[in-house]
Symmetry: T
Subunit: 71 residues, 12 copies
């Protein structure tokens, strides 16, 4: 086994009608369908749509980090 790992970071945008945390969770859940070993996330931007004078969706741009398998 190697004594060092290599990680990759991908940039994902999650959205939610209810909260920033929910938007993050939606992104992480979607990521984890196709990627193993997701280990951390970093919020890059928080933004959203406004509909009828109220927040319609929160949109959170994340970097998501995962270990490359076999590394």
């Amino acid at each position: 086994m190697s004594d060092h790992h290599v990680y990759k970071k991908v940039e994902i945008v999650g959205s939610s009608r209810t909260s920033i945390e929910d938007a993050i969770n939606n992104a992480i859940t979607e990521c984890s369908k196709s990627i193993n070993n997701v280990e951390w996330f970093e919020v890059q931007e928080t933004r959203g749509h406004v509909t009828n004078g109220q927040v319609g969706h929160y949109q959170v741009v994340l970097k998501v980090g995962f270990r490359i398998e076999g590394s």
Copy 2:
């Protein structure tokens, strides 16, 4: 009707005793009293006051974007 739009962005600070989302909503609600066509927001900074060793207010600095009427 034009095939392109022009938007303006203004910088607003919302505050709330309870949550970051609530501070965002307070800013959007206030904005929408005087501005039509608000379409999106971008969080610039999140900060707050501390009172007696606890968060007193969350303060969220937003850019709020709206379409200029007639454009």
Copy 3:
């Protein structure tokens, strides 16, 4: 009494299993155990750990500002 104050800012990372606000509060509470006169905070970064395809902990990096006693 002086007509001006001097403040210091320290950088703290709070964490929470439940929300960003809770991570901020955990950091402020810990700070206030050893520092008097904490007056404000500024969020620097929001990030977190992922465990089993879900957010494990939110981690919020804060600058926390307090007035230097006697200044």
Copy 4:
């Protein structure tokens, strides 16, 4: 007459189907309908929509500077 001026900067987003320059011009033209003394602009961001695998609109975020009348 004063020996100094005061300027204001507003943030505008112009769009165009054809080019970045055209998006800038659309924003400047719209601004000049309601603001006198526009003197300069600074590009903040260049972005756009994609429709059917091609650029649909260029969107250019500008700061636009103008002299405050009477200053």
Copy 5:
């Protein structure tokens, strides 16, 4: 009375032949002619013109924050 306030930030450029502080004051004075409740400023950029090998004007770009009336 509301338990939270909403603030707006505008971007202003003050200038002065004599000092950076004077340029800031010129901007604040001009702002206060048309805006109530100005509460704080943040320097964004400091720059200036040079005439005959000497500073002609200091120009200071400020964000100026004020409370929205009624909020």
Copy 6:
């Protein structure tokens, strides 16, 4: 159908001998060969090669955003 979407952003560099817009279009066209649902782009950097004292190629670094299918 879900009431929220998840998006991914990838970083692409397009180049062109003729213009910045053409470099952007080359990148978008190449992307759209292998990715569905491309919705927007954000210019990160504009640069280029110089050959014989003239611009040889414009190179535009873009973030390209697309909706993840099924999200």
Copy 7:
């Protein structure tokens, strides 16, 4: 004696009713009461309060660097 030194940087906010330089000096003076070997400062932000349409206080955020004793 070591052939290398280790330094620490702390973040301080000085304020003054009169000038930016005075705010810097107030911060440095306060720092030097409790820290030896202060060697340099770096201005991070310049901001201030407005009272009655005039600058009330300049506030200057500084990083202050000092050599760790014995290093």
Copy 8:
């Protein structure tokens, strides 16, 4: 053959117990197992773990650029 190329950049984190250069090389080597035409890298961040008061691993976050085949 096209007179222009399209490149993609991916974000990778290499680690090493011995040096920053070794962490970069570990990331490049891992990348090259699955990607052809890797042409350049850009260091984004340098960081690491500390174990028992000493550097345990250097971690280097890289953008790695490669030409898209056929472009």
Copy 9:
């Protein structure tokens, strides 16, 4: 011949009444009158003057890189 080169970057502002690309070319052409081996450029800022409610000049701030002769 050395197995490594040393490059220098200078900061130039090109301007044009017609387009961003033309402003870049004007800067590169002027540079190449006095500098050999110009190899690349990086756009730092795009801005311009407004005259009579229209773009008067585009101004593009570039870093221009060239190999130092003999290196």
Copy 10:
């Protein structure tokens, strides 16, 4: 035992005549004399002195993170 931790980050400058890694290690070693639980570092800046046309010292500015005891 708490299910969350609080961390603090301090900013340290290490120096070395020989390498960047050695400057990092000197900073970490000095830190660990007075701080327990140092867990990670983040390089902020790399710079140095030049003496007689050669690098005299590398200076590396680090943020160093440690867990607050009892948290």
Copy 11:
């Protein structure tokens, strides 16, 4: 005569025992000894040395812009 100009920006550090403005002026004066047509400056950083617990020198890093002769 050309209908466009080309400018160059150089980076200069001025210092002064007395004020930030004086440090700027010292840099501009020195520049103007060897460069014609200096037209503007932009402050990049403000920093300084501390001697005996007081500001020893203000150091101001400037970009200084001048028109290239004949352009």
Copy 12:
């Protein structure tokens, strides 16, 4: 003799097949052939070429500071 100095900063890119430190040294050595009084450097970017799946050259972009003679 003046009680203040003026410095200039130039931007240089050093390269090396072997290490980041060697790339820095190559840049400093080249600079010192034509510039006296080089006093410090600041790393701006670290990047490099990849050849056959391995680092071909490290490239380090530096700001190099020197005192202007006679100042």
